[in-house]
């Protein structure tokens, strides 16, 4: 079972974190791929919500945008965007928010706004979109992101979305945020979880075939490993088959 890519391992490891009774606020791209894989494998009862207003949607192909027709057509119902952000996200109805990042620090704070200075940026990124409030309103946050020392940095250039702030209980103490925050980070190399005390992301599971050195080389801070580090279970046949079929259907649909 070594016939899979690191990206496939990442999506599968991310999908596994979702539970059957989760209500998941899904971002486009990797989060959407992982969330739909979970729904099509071990978590058929998983409820997927996209910020376009589609509640409990079951797309057959992955959407390219956050509001493809597929999402509405397979949804339980579709609400307005103000209702989505007010009643469903801010209302505390979401158990898991799934985020990606351009830059990430060891405490799960996220930058998707600018590289460089805000008023004179080197690169202007797309911006926060739903993320600033997803990060604080959902029960907990899963982050899925390819690991590299350009993305996993010691200091992010801009705090788009709050993770654990400066660590410890900063999230609650300084910002009054009572939700759990980033509880899991899934990359193409490993899984990290916040240290219970410091809230610093700590490697708890390494994907098959990946070395500690490779993880260290691709992390912009001195990465910590938990006392007991597991090996992430290989993708199983069903996971790979379902993921590949999903991606093949998607590719066909989007090139039409």
């Amino acid at each position: 079972m070594s016939d899979y890519t690191a990206n496939e391992m990442m999506s599968i490891a991310a999908a596994r974190a979702l539970r059957n009774d989760d209500i998941c606020f899904v971002g486009i791209g990797l989060p959407s791929e992982a969330a739909n894989l979970a729904r099509l494998t071990h978590a058929p009862g998983l409820t997927l919500i996209y910020e376009s207003g589609t509640l409990a949607t079951k797309p057959d192909v992955l959407p390219l945008s956050i509001g493809d027709g597929e999402l509405c057509e397979t949804a339980l119902t579709t609400v307005s965007v103000p209702e989505m952000f007010r009643y469903w996200l801010q209302g505390g109805r979401i158990t898991v928010g799934f985020l990606g990042a351009a830059q990430l620090d060891r405490f799960g704070n996220i930058n998707t706004t600018v590289i460089g200075d805000y008023n004179d940026p080197k690169v202007r990124l797309p911006g926060g979109g739903g993320a600033p409030e997803i990060a604080t309103s959902c029960g907990e946050i899963f982050i899925v992101m390819r690991q590299s020392d350009r993305g996993f940095v010691d200091k992010i250039d801009f705090f788009t979305s709050l993770g654990h702030g400066t660590g410890g209980d900063d999230r609650l103490r300084t910002y009054g945020v009572t939700t759990k925050g980033p509880s899991r980070l899934v990359t193409d190399l490993c899984i990290m979880e916040p240290d219970p005390e410091t809230k610093e992301f700590t490697v708890t599971s390494i994907h098959p075939g990946v070395t500690r050195t490779k993880i260290e080389e691709n992390t912009g801070w001195a990465v910590k490993f938990a006392d007991e580090v597991a090996e992430t279970p290989h993708p199983n046949a069903e996971e790979l088959e379902v993921l590949r079929a999903l991606k093949a259907r998607t590719a066909a649909a989007h090139s039409a």
């Binding site: 945008s65 509405c72 801010q90 009054g176 989007h254």
Partner: protein
């Protein structure tokens, strides 16, 4: 009461240089044909408002229509950057573009507050978010009962809202179905509004009781432009042209290529060009 006008007359009468203009549609029902008409009429100095300034605003910004933009996510969804948008902000081409950047929650609440006639929106947002430090349009208030600090942003009340919808009745009422986004709020909050529609029908007799409808007296002008959302889509009519969204990345990458494409397809075109997208795509929603 809504007037039925040609697209050119609708844009001409509703939008002046320097107006604040909210063209909405959350991925779905984006008023592309109306955007092209604004470009053809060479409007300038517009203060654009839109949660997700995707291709439609990339085109308008690249053609020099705008001075300022209020937005919350600026990219080509699932594809990458908006090259014209980025070129304007980073390099001031074709002119400087001032930004008023927010989160989706802030803008959704601001549209809601605009429709509700309030001066500001109050919501639980921007906690730990640095945007609140760099954007002076983000303030806070304290709940008078619990003392909790809540975020506040000004309500969005544009000079003009421009949207695309599925149907208008002959009476001038407008129906939206599917992903309805913030369009109703954008129209109700605006001073004037232009609506392009896929078709005009005699009446709305068979609709469900809670259909999303904008009554005629909330709309300034209606014009029928079949396919007018392309490359966005119209639920029940045609599908999103995802291949075009991907192709846009190359079209807009350099300035000359962009201008040549716009000259051929927009400046030299008209609303009737959209009809083939409505028909051609054929992907009627199941």
């Amino acid at each position: 009461m809504a007037e039925f006008l040609s697209l050119a007359d609708a844009i001409e009468s509703a939008i002046s240089d320097g107006d604040s203009v909210a063209m909405e549609g959350f991925t779905h029902l984006i008023p592309h044909a109306a955007g092209h008409e604004i470009i053809r009429q060479r409007r300038s100095g517009l203060r654009l408002i839109r949660m997700t300034p995707d291709i439609i605003y990339d085109q308008m910004i690249g053609m020099g229509c705008a001075d300022r933009i209020m937005y919350s996510w600026g990219g080509n969804p699932g594809v990458g950057s908006l090259h014209r948008f980025r070129d304007a902000i980073q390099n001031g081409w074709p002119g400087p573009l001032e930004i008023d950047e927010h989160s989706h929650a802030a803008m959704a609440n601001a549209y809601d507050a605009g429709a509700a006639g309030l001066p500001c929106a109050v919501f639980r947002g921007y906690r730990g978010a640095q945007l609140a430090e760099v954007n002076p349009n983000i303030k806070s208030i304290n709940c008078p009962f619990t003392g909790e600090k809540l975020a506040a942003v000004p309500a969005i009340r544009a000079d003009v809202a421009v949207i695309h919808a599925q149907k208008a009745s002959r009476n001038g009422d407008v129906l939206l179905e599917g992903i309805v986004g913030v369009q109703k709020e954008a129209v109700l909050g605006a001073k004037r509004s232009v609506v392009t529609v896929e078709e005009i029908v005699d009446d709305f007799a068979d609709l469900p009781p809670n259909a999303v409808i904008l009554p005629s007296w909330t709309i300034s002008a209606i014009t029928c432009v079949p396919g007018g959302a392309h490359p966005s889509y119209a639920h029940g009519y045609y599908s999103r042209d995802n291949a075009f969204y991907k192709a846009w990345d190359e079209i807009a990458r350099d300035r000359d290529g962009f201008r040549a494409w716009m000259q051929e397809h927009v400046i030299g075109g008209g609303p009737e060009d959209f009809a083939r997208h409505g028909k051609a795509a054929g992907g009627v929603a199941s």
